[in-house]
């Protein structure tokens, strides 16, 4: 596969996302290069890479996919976390076998089936998955390989697998969110009982905005990797972003609480 070694387009620096910019300057003044991954496939995705991240990525042993593989990291703490996460599992092709799903009916021009399911089997462990996520057989094959790799990883490694660790990160984030929400509403109650809720309204708005941005991204979960061999960034970046937002929201919550007290 050809890697286009073109430099990241430093078209406009850090104009992409307003609130993100605010957060970055607040949390450490890391240089912020934004660009667009050129070349086919993932053309729409903004790539945010800091030199720090690039170092981390190559150090972690990822095959030189520097451009779009750098995770969305903005704070020093979550950069560290990204580095310590186990790499995305990948299975060698000779261990995989595609199971033939016999189509019903004549096929070809006579039928326009919408279903293009792919069934994939991992030979050593005999784990089989069926993927019918998209209408494209090509994309289903790619997704099937990822899902199967994750399942095999979980089967073999249990707690140490990437899935488990990601699950823990998500759980932590969800717990911290719940805690923050509980704190907030407790405060609201107290303030309502005490003064009247002018101050608390502001906090609520911030929190909701964070949630909306997150949900918008989850809708794009099944973005396809572009043809230059880079893996689907959707899952990992979301996880990173959720982790980041969870942390930042927590910090904001804490600092707001500190300010209140």
């Amino acid at each position: 596969m050809m890697k286009t070694t073109l430099p990241l387009r430093l078209s406009s620096v850090s104009f992409g996302i307003g609130p993100a910019l605010g957060r970055i300057l607040k949390y450490g003044d890391l240089p912020f290069i934004s660009g667009f991954a050129l070349g086919s496939g993932a053309g729409r995705r903004p790539v945010i890479a800091t030199p720090v991240c690039i170092v981390a990525v190559t150090a972690a042993g990822r095959p030189g996919t520097v451009t779009a593989a750098a995770p969305f990291t903005t704070t020093a703490a979550s950069w560290l976390k990204a580095w310590q996460m186990p790499p995305r599992p990948k299975l060698p092709e000779d261990e995989l076998e595609e199971v033939y799903l016999k189509g019903s009916g004549p096929g070809g021009q006579k039928i326009n089936k919408t279903n293009s399911a792919v069934q994939l089997r991992h030979i050593p462990t005999n784990i089989v998955i069926k993927c019918q996520e998209t209408r494209s057989r090509t994309q289903n094959r790619k997704l099937a390989r990822e899902i199967l790799a994750a399942k095999v990883d979980f089967h073999l490694n249990g707690d140490k697998s990437r899935v488990a660790i990601v699950g823990n990160v998500k759980k932590k984030k969800a717990d911290s969110k719940a805690k923050k929400a509980r704190r907030k509403y407790k405060k609201l109650e107290e303030e309502k009982a005490g003064k009247g809720g002018a101050g608390a309204g502001e906090q609520l708005v911030d929190g909701e905005e964070g949630r909306e941005v997150e949900e918008g991204e989850e809708g794009e979960e099944w973005e396809v990797a572009d043809a230059e061999g880079e893996e689907v960034e959707g899952h990992e970046e979301e996880i990173q972003e959720e982790a980041n937002k969870g942390e930042e929201a927590e910090k904001r919550g804490r600092s707001a609480d500190a300010a209140k007290q």
Binding site: Q109, N115, Q132, S136, T138
Partner: protein
Amino acid sequence: MSRVKPQLFWQGRKKLGLNAAKLLPVCRTLESTANELRWIKQHVAETPSIIPFGARVWKLCDKRGKGLPLAYVLGNQPFGDLEIKCQPGVLIPRTETESYTIHLSNILRRSAVSSSKSDPADQQPLNIIDLCTGTGCIPLLLYSQLSRSLPFQSLNVVGVDISQKAINLSRQNLHHNLGAHRFPAPSDKSKSHPLQRSLHFLKADIFSSSAVDPILSTPVCSEQCAAQEAEEQQQQQQPTWDLLTSNPPYISPSGFLVSTSRSVRNWEPKLALVPPVERVDLHQKHFYHHYYPDDENLLPTQKGNVEYEEEDVFFARLLEIARTYRPKRVLMEVGDMEQAKRVVGMVLGDGKLRKLYFGEGTEEEKGGTVQIWRDDLVGFEGYEEIMDIGKEKIVVKGHPEGHGRSVYLRRVGVVDA
């Protein structure tokens, strides 16, 4: 068409909502209903509009429930990693087509890589032509795959169709995928760039020589290529096509009424599915005068002589084009194994085609082959069997449970399929 069990409706309503009831008669199973509903909802979520979400989903499910194919409902169909826009009046790209097109691009890539010369400027451009292109899916996918996997290879890809609607849609698809950065832009011919990439769609009736001959006889080829090709024995002065593909109409009128699915029969254009069988003049001319002047060339079957069906008329024309223009590789999609065998019979029964593509039968004559490919080659490339057609043995690739889907010809002298 049997009734859908009432309990499915209840289960559907419980798990998937009210829209499931509209989709079930068309989708038949809960699984497939769930999938289609999910895709409809995703599509509505991804395309902004002032109309509220629920209303749009309801309307699209209504349309789909009447039998309109999902690709027309949503307006697009994924094909490889491209998104092909679809509209009524033009045939929807099939997954079987996608499968052999990707396999073809792998073949072309491997052979270009293995025969690449050291200096990129000496590269002969790859000339590819697709007849009866419809939405332009095959040329677009080949262009996309090859321009990425062979970055120093000049490409010249042409798509031809009789319908103006199809040509307009093909051009729309080109711009749509270009705008989404799914492949690099075709380059301008006027610039003296060493790397030339062109992608054109032209309107022509392939049965009319006056319309198609100008297109077929001028693949782009620089003076350098002509000089190199003059060394090879088989070449004449005219430049050649590296690949001729086609997915022509191949369903007989009776087959259309009986074996097509309802959504195809009622909503897809008959022009793309059933050849003009009432044109008996074409039929006679192409079958009997060109190929079988002496009956002994006809391959025998149990009934006596091979019965060439009326729906094979496009293949007769395609093979006539192959005889004249001698493309290095030919791929024609067929309806089923029976039709594939008949087409192979047409190749083997004609002296010139047989010599061009099958060879004298001596082992390893450097290249020529006539193959039948089954459905779903990608991922199942290892499967191969030998089939007897007439007196010859033909290689059949693909998983044995798949239907016969295409006939592949490679010229003698061209290696590394």
